[in-house]
Amino acid sequence: EDVLLPAPQNISILSTNMKHFLTWSPVIIQGETVRYSVEFQGEYEREYANESWIPICECSLIAATVCNITEDISATVAYNLRVRADVGGRRSEWGTLKGFFNRITTSLTPPVMKVIADGYHLLVELEDMGPAFQFSVLYWKKGQENRMQQKVVKEVSSVVHLDTMEAGPDYCVKAQTYVEAINRSSSFSQTQCVRAQGGTSMWL
């Protein structure tokens, strides 16, 4: 009689900056390649569609033990996720994520930022983190932290012009991300300071 394949264990979510991955421990069967399939269930399916599950075809019979579920976690509601194993015609029970996953819990990291003094122009270059992200950029003259100015950047283009600097004082900048869909912000990046220097770029 066929021994039932063990269900995948240690199922968990890695979610950073609105990118969500489901991972699990491999099911080990000597000399065999075990394959896995993933399904998800949103709050809508639980409450209005007979608790139906929806397969993720990119993660159907895959050998890897990770699945990118970002595209399917596209609402700020509680999701269930499950994985099962297949090998040589044998199939395991479903292993289900303990508890729900809601994208509101994603971890938000400070943005990668580069501050540039282009002559007397204070510029900042921000990493493009995807359509879900806005940036709040704070800048001030060193020593005048009480007169901080803010610029909200809704769409990352190449470089953002912040201010025209006076010669002499240092200008400091820090930034954080904001995700409207979940109404949360990251912590601030490290502060970077530059100083205007004639027409040449100057790093401190």
Binding site: F40, G42, E43, Y44, E45, E47, Y48, A49, S52, I54, P55, I56, C57, E71, D72, S74, A75, T76, V77, Y79, P131, A132, F133, Q134, K154, E155, V179, E180, A181, N183
Partner: protein
Amino acid sequence: TAGNKIFQFGPCKVSMSMTEIRSGFNAIKTNIQARDPIRTLSILSHPHSLHKVKPSDRCCITHHLFNFYVDKVFKHCKTEDSYVNRKISSIANSFLSVRRKLGQCHEQNQCMCGQESTEKMKQILGNYEGLNVTSAAIKSLGELDILLDWME
């Protein structure tokens, strides 16, 4: 950005990831509309367009329409196409999230229903029940952009 829009209906403020919903819908629009053979009928726009609704009734009609889609439409739209089903799930779960916020407004009497919105909803349900449930659901889903355009 993800195009979160804040919809202001008088005191009722509802934020909604409009771009996510639209991109989910646009990904399946052609597929869904191709499944709707009855071109001469509309669920949402017959006999009058949504644009006829008075501003004071906008919140209530929006609330009713989100209830309509969550309670009646999405569940009857299951297809044989896994990709289409995933996008419908994405829209349905987004609608569920927004409906909850509209419901809170309704409970706090910030989303009052006038005669016009009640009448309009009656027409929409009448149009819906005039067809068999799968055809009506698929047609309603295919008209989602009418609702989104009207909201925006």
